[in-house]
């Protein structure tokens, strides 16, 4: 690989490479300096010193080594040794990666490798924008994903705090443990809240999907009077701030609960579930209405007339003709409704009592009162489940598309 680009590589001017490397390292040290240095001179030293060291290092690498590969090996070794001195195994590994990346970057700049994948007629500005754009996209991705990824190693923490302990950073086995996962699977409170979530979310989803789909179909008929107003009311739970809906729901469902318990004599716990499920169904309905309405736009009404013409009654027409065609919208609406209920913490805190405590509720109070990494273990489990669910749905979708011949292979 190295021979491929060194044979005809024309290096850029040395000052260009050195000033670019110096500038980048100065930018990194600027961030480091802002967060660590307490006086201005220290800060200045961090920035200037970092840049000078980087320039010297780049100059040495370029003048000693002709190929990127040799420079990368030496730089990786140097990085590993320096890293090991600071943070043992973990530091060594980080130093190894950093050293390799730094050397690769210096040669990438110096031998104009950045030009290689691009069209030769691009101006310098266009090349700069090409890489800036990629950098911005990468940064957005990093900011979206890092908070989720950080949680995962922390959930294996051997201590009861949200902290990367020195043992963890040195990759020692003592620093890690499965005890928070054990806690989740053995602790009654966590198990109860998990069970509650598994009971409440599916039933609320079934309710929202049935009611939401029917509402969407009804509202898509042009002869329904005041359908815009009805639509606005049905969608309002999504628009009104949750805390306001929750306060209203608290009083409304307390009243319903009192009626069910007092007048009808139903069991208190059962009534509690009914209240939370109804409240969550209301929150899920807007998602179903919106997705199903969107799918109905592409639904050809002459199909229902054709079905009627062939003797099918409206119910048969709905299940045999309309439903299969709008099913993707119904399913994605259902997924949203499920996730809304599964993630919801405000309404359940207001409407539910402790015997309806769901996972988000338990996580919320846990975060505030005890900061236990069990929360992180649960979060990791939930992320894995969500990824598995979405992957399954996507695979099923592709399979059905393939079977219906909509897309190749």
């Amino acid at each position: 690989m190295s021979s491929k680009f060194t044979e005809n590589a024309v290096p850029v001017s040395l000052p260009f490479t050195l000033s670019l490397v110096g500038l980048l390292v100065a930018a990194v040290s600027f961030v480091a300096g802002v967060s660590t240095a307490s006086v201005f001179s220290e800060f200045l030293l961090t920035v200037v010193g970092g840049a000078v060291v980087a320039i010297g290092f780049a100059y040495a690498l370029i003048s000693v080594f002709g190929t990127a590969r040799a420079a990368m090996v030496v730089s990786a070794l140097l990085g590993a040794v320096a890293g090991a001195a600071i943070g043992r195994l973990g530091g060594a590994l980080a130093g190894l990666l950093l050293g390799t990346a730094v050397a690769r970057f210096i040669f990438w700049i110096h031998y104009r490798e950045y030009r290689r994948p691009l069209a030769p007629y691009l101006t310098s500005e266009q090349v700069l924008w090409h890489y800036t754009f990629r950098f911005i996209c990468g940064a957005i991705f990093v900011f979206l994903i890092t908070p989720i990824l950080v949680v995962m190693p922390l959930s294996f923490n051997a201590q009861d705090f949200f902290t990367f302990t020195p043992e963890m950073l040195r990759f020692e086995a003592d620093g890690y443990s499965l005890k928070h996962y054990r806690d989740f699977f053995t602790n009654n409170e966590w198990q109860r809240s998990f069970k509650n979530s598994v009971i409440i979310a599916p039933i609320a989803t079934v309710l929202s999907v049935s009611l939401g789909t029917l509402a969407a179909i009804g509202l898509s008929q042009s002869h329904v009077p005041g359908r815009r107003a009805i639509m606005a009311i049905l969608i309002s739970p999504m628009i009104v701030p949750l805390i306001i809906s929750a306060t209203g729901m608290f009083f409304f469902y307390s009243w319903i609960g009192n009626f069910l318990e007092g007048t009808l004599g139903l069991n208190k716990t059962f009534v509690g579930y009914v209240k939370v499920i109804l409240a969550h169904a209301v929150l899920g309905i807007p998602f179903v209405i919106i997705t199903v309405t969107a799918t109905l736009v592409g639904f050809d009404r002459s199909l229902t007339r054709a079905a009627a013409n062939m003797g099918a009654d409206p119910v048969t027409t709905f299940f045999r003709v309309q439903m299969p065609l709008i099913l993707p919208g119904v399913i994605s609406g259902g997924l949203f409704a499920f996730i809304t209920s599964f993630d919801e913490v405000v309404v359940v805190l207001f409407v539910g009592s402790a015997s309806q405590k769901t996972l988000p509720w338990q996580m919320f109070t846990g975060l505030r009162e005890q900061i236990s990494p069990t929360i992180l273990a649960v979060a990791t489990i939930l992320v894995v489940i969500s990824i598995a669910l979405l992957t399954t749905v996507e695979l099923l979708r592709r399979r059905s598309e393939r079977l219906r011949g909509l897309s190749p292979g």
């Binding site: 009861d160 059962f270 109070t365 009162e369």
Partner: protein, 366 residues
Amino acid sequence: MKLKFLMVTTAAAMIASPVLAADMADELTIVSWGGAYSKSQLRAYHEPYSEMSGTTIINDDSSAEAVAKLRAMNEAGNVTWDVVDVVAADAMRLCDEGLALEIDHDTMLAAAPDGTLASEDFGDLIVSDCFIPQIVYSTAFGYRTDLVGDNPPDDICDVFDLEAYPGKRSLEKRPINNMEWALLCDGVDKADVYSVLETSEGQDRALAKLGTIKDSVIWWSAGADTPQLLADGEIVMGSTYNGRLFSVIEEQHQPVGMLWDAQVFDLDGWIIPAGLSAERQARALDYIMFATDTQRLADQAKFISYGPARASSAPMVGKHADLGIDMAPHMPTDPNNAKNTFLYNYEFWADYRDDIDAKFQAWLAQ
């Protein structure tokens, strides 16, 4: 086919729910603070009680909002809590508003093993007719032993000394305790603290003293915040409940030390919400009778370093159940720790809390 599926699922759910509800019929919802504290209650009270009576205990860690939530539940006529753990000040408020059941301490609570009536055994700690005392705790400071060098803080005013102890400190996001400490370190005599704090100038003086460290303060609102910040090394010292610090030091083995100077004692205990059905009230009282007897209160001290509220429990406090260390030196009431203490001044704060709170919040926002 789809319709059938929907009907089957709904029917299954309808059948499953009452079955599920049936197992939970004999249940008790107990509200407490969470964390190490709830765990100590779980082991000392809930587990033995469930085993004895077969009652399922459901924990709701909502004590921080107990007053607001109980008010709302009462207004909606739907109180879902059976027993609530609150600090003494909240118990007084709830009792005044008629939201808590008045307790006849002698008939509703167990007598001490030697026959002493409960009201005598608890003594002065029964600060309200609705309040069933459980523990004496204190708010004290913990500091990172590795960040203070050879000169560990031993005076409350070290909290205000940014030169000797540079770094962040955490304080509770409310005026109570902070104002007293600030005045004490601004040269006010301990005996005069509350008379100075009554005046507007005195309040400004306390805030001005707090202002000298405001830039270095992280304000906490949950008892678990300071332990987390100490474990992270983000703060050099911070105030929290002494039991939380005990857990950080002895159970989590973090490099943290105790600064007991000017610790503020407070009481925590149970109330039973007013207006429960007779059956639920009887169940709650049965639990309370069990959980506040001499043995149970002494048992709790095996799990967390809070002092039992009964005089008869004190001699029974022994070693930590899991660590096997003597609990006495970790108690806020131990003579070595209690050289200089405050007692939460209920009367003063009942009268001045709203005014000083408003002033404090405005000052925080500046």
